[in-house]
C-alpha cells in the first residue's frame, strides 16, 4: 500500500514538474482488454485441467497396484510447482534478464507482478493473468516426466527431484526461449506453446530418469499391461480439451492468431490419431483404442511449438508424421534399445516435441503470424537451422542437468523403492492406500486410534 502510494506521489510530481506530453502518456498504464483477460484466465484453467487429465491418462496405463502413485505424482505437482512459482519460479523464468541466462529475483514472491499488464509479455491482460497461465505450463511439464519412471520411484525422492528439476531445468529453459532477452529467443528460436520448453525437456529428462532408475522389476518378462484403458481415454480426452488453452491461449489475446492455433491444434491431433491407428492396424492387424488415445497426444505434442506459425494443411502433415514417428518410437525404438520408459514420456513427448520443433522450421509462415518467421518451405532455411540448434541445446541441457540432479538427490535420498515394495505396488507402500478397495475383504480396525 505504502509503496503504491509513494509511487503515485512520485508519478504525480514528475507529471507536474515535467509537463511534456510524451512523459505524461508514458505514465498512463496500458489498457486491459476484458476479452483478452477472460480468454487468458480461461486458457490457464484449461491448461490446469490437463494435469489431472494426464494423471488419468497415465493412471490407466499402469498396473492396478500403482495407479494411485501415478495419479498422486501428477496431482501433487500442482501443489508443489504452484508454490515454487509464486515464491521464485516465475521470477527466474520471466523476471528481468541476467546475462540472457536467467531471470532476476526482482519478481520473487510476485513482487512487481500486479494487476497492470506487463507489455513485454502481454499488453492487454493483467500481469497476474499471464503469470498464472505460465504457471500451468510449469506444472504439466514436471508432471509429464513422471510417465518415464512410473511404478518404481520413491515418493520423497520424487518430490525433491521435481522441485530441483523445475527450478534448475524448467525455469532457465523457459527464460532462454520465452523470457525477454533469453538467449534462444534472441537467436530467433520459434516455440509458440512449448515444444522445446515443455515437451522436449520433459521427454528427454524422462528418458534420463528411466535409465538412471533402471528398468522395472520383471520388465520384458512379466506382462505390464494397462489396467484401465477407459481411464486412459478419459485422460487423453481431457488433455485434448485442455490443449486448446495451451496452444490457443499462447496467443495471450482473443484474436485471429488464437483461432488459428486452435484450428491447427485440433487438426494435428486428429491426423496423428488416424496415422497411429493406421500404422498399428497394418502391423498388428487391429486398430487399438490405446493407439488412438496415444496418437492424439502425439499430434498435440508435435503441433505445440508450431501452433502459432503454421497453416491447417501443414498441421495435417505434422500430425500424420507425429503419429507414425511416435508409434515407431514406443514400439520399435524402445524395444531395440531396451530402456524402460514406462509410459513413453520420451517416445511421445521427447520425440514428438523434437519433430514439432523441427517442423516449425519447415512449415512456419509469416502469412500466419507476422511476428514469427518463414520456415524452409517458405524460403528461409536459416529458421530450420535455428530450430535444430534449439532442439540440440534443449536435449543436451535437459539431459545433463537431469542426470546431475538425480545423482545428487540419490546421494542423500534413495531414488527407487525396494524390490519387495515394487512387488507389492507403490499405492500401498508409498501412500498406504488402495485404488480399488473392493479387494479388501478382511481386516482389523484399530479402535484405539479412533477414540
Amino acid at each position: 500500500m505504502l509503496k503504491n502510494l509513494w509511487r503515485l506521489v512520485l508519478v504525480t510530481l514528475s507529471m507536474l514538474l515535467l509537463p511534456g506530453l510524451a512523459w505524461a502518456e508514458d505514465a498512463v498504464p496500458p489498457a486491459i482488454n476484458a476479452g483478452d483477460t477472460a480468454f487468458v484466465l480461461m486458457s490457464a484453467a484449461l491448461v490446469l485441467l490437463m494435469t489431472p487429465g494426464l494423471a488419468l491418462f497415465y493412471g490407466g496405463m499402469v498396473r492396478e497396484k500403482n495407479v494411485l502413485s501415478v495419479i498422486m505424482q501428477s496431482f501433487i505437482v500442482i501443489g508443489l510447482v504452484s508454490v515454487q512459482w509464486v515464491l521464485f519460479g516465475y521470477s527466474a523464468a520471466f523476471g528481468p534478464d541476467i546475462k540472457h541466462i536467467i531471470g532476476s529475483m526482482d519478481w520473487a514472491g510476485l513482487a512487481n507482478v500486479g494487476q497492470d499488464p506487463n507489455t513485454d509479455y502481454a499488453g492487454t491482460v493483467p500481469h497476474l493473468a499471464f503469470m498464472s497461465f505460465q504457471l500451468m505450463f510449469a506444472i504439466i511439464t514436471a508432471a509429464l516426466i513422471t510417465g518415464s519412471f512410473a511404478e518404481r520411484m520413491r515418493f520423497p525422492a520424487f518430490l525433491i527431484f521435481t522441485l530441483l528439476w523445475t527450478s534448475l531445468v524448467y525455469d532457465p529453459l523457459a527464460h532462454w526461449v520465452w523470457g525477454v532477452d533469453g538467449w534462444l529467443r534472441n537467436l530467433g528460436a520459434l516455440d509458440f506453446a512449448g515444444g522445446t520448453v515443455v515437451h522436449i525437456s520433459s521427454g528427454v529428462s524422462g528418458l534420463v530418469a528411466a535409465i538412471v532408475l533402471g528398468r522395472r522389476k520383471g520388465y520384458g518378462t512379466e506382462p505390464m499391461i494397462p489396467h484401465h484403458l477407459p481411464m486412459t481415454v478419459l485422460g487423453a480426452s481431457l488433455l485434448w480439451f485442455g490443449w486448446f488453452g495451451f496452444n490457443a491461449g499462447s496467443a495471450v489475446s482473443a484474436n485471429g492468431l488464437a483461432c488459428s492455433a486452435f484450428v491447427v491444434t485440433n487438426t494435428a491431433a486428429a491426423a496423428a490419431a488416424l496415422s497411429w491407428v493406421a500404422v498399428e492396424w497394418m502391423r498388428h492387424g487391429k486398430p487399438t483404442v490405446l493407439g488412438a488415445a496415444s496418437g492424439c497426444v502425439a499430434g498435440l505434442v508435435a503441433i505445440t511449438p508450431a501452433s502459432g506459425f503454421v497453416s491447417p494443411l501443414a498441421a495435417i502433415v505434422i500430425g500424420l508424421v507425429a503419429g507414425v514417428l511416435c508409434y515407431l518410437a514406443v514400439s520399435v525404438l524402445k524395444t531395440k534399445l531396451g530402456y524402460d520408459d514406462s509410459l513413453d514420456a520420451f517416445g511421445v513427448h521427447g520425440l514428438g516435441g523434437t519433430w514439432g520443433a523441427v517442423a516449425t522450421g519447415l512449415f512456419a509462415s509469416k502469412a500466419v503470424n507476422s511476428a514469427g518467421n518463414d520456415g524452409l518451405f517458405y524460403g528461409n532455411a536459416a529458421q530450420l537451422v535455428t530450430q535444430i540448434e534449439t532442439v540440440a541445446v534443449t536435449w543436451l541441457f535437459a539431459g545433463l542437468a537431469t542426470f546431475i540432479i538425480l545423482k545428487v538427490v540419490g546421494l542423500f535420498c534413495k531414488l527407487r523403492v525396494d524390490a519387495d515394495d515394487e512387488e507389492a505396488g507403490l499405492d500401498i507402500t508409498q501412500h498406504g492406500e488402495e485404488a480399488y478397495a473392493a479387494n479388501v475383504s478382511s481386516g482389523t480396525l484399530f479402535r484405539d486410534t479412533m477414540a
Binding site: 499391461i225 494397462p226 498399428e280 502391423r283 498388428h284 487399438t288 490405446l290 496415444s294 514406443v330 514400439s331
Partner: protein, 113 residues
C-alpha cells in the same frame, strides 16, 4: 456324496444353471477363474508390444450331489457346456466325506438337499 467341479466357457453359465435347475440341482458355488488347457489363448497389443495371453477366462462351478445323481449331472453339464471346439473345459469329481448346513446343523445328504 460327490463334489463335481467343472470349468467351462463363461458364456455357458446360464444354460448350465438352467439345465441343472430343471433336474432339481440348485445349490452351487460359481467363480470366475482363468486357466489354460489345450486352448492357445489370444494376443493383445499395447502400444505396439504384443502380449500372448494364454490364461483365458473361464467359469468354475462347484456342485455337491448325492452319489446316485452324479452320472446324470455329468451328462447334463457336458452336453450343455459343449460347443465341440477347443476350450470347452473339464469336469472333475471328488468324494465328499460330510456336509453341514450351518443354519440348521443338518448333516450329510440332508445338508445338500
Amino acid at each position: 456324496m460327490i463334489k463335481i467341479e467343472c470349468v467351462f466357457r463363461p458364456g455357458k453359465l446360464e444354460e448350465v444353471k438352467e439345465a441343472l435347475g430343471k433336474y432339481g440341482i440348485h445349490g452351487m458355488t460359481v467363480s470366475q477363474v482363468i486357466g489354460c488347457g489345450l486352448q492357445k489363448g489370444r494376443t493383445e497389443v499395447y502400444r505396439g508390444t504384443e502380449y500372448s495371453i494364454n490364461l483365458v477366462p473361464k467359469i468354475k462351478m462347484e456342485v455337491v450331489v448325492p452319489d446316485y445323481h452324479v452320472d446324470r449331472v455329468l451328462e447334463i453339464i457336458s452336453s450343455v457346456a459343449k460347443t465341440g471346439k477347443i476350450g470347452d473345459g473339464k469336469i472333475f469329481t471328488y468324494p465328499v466325506t460330510d456336509a453341514v448346513r450351518i443354519r440348521t446343523g443338518e448333516k450329510g445328504e440332508d445338508a445338500i438337499k
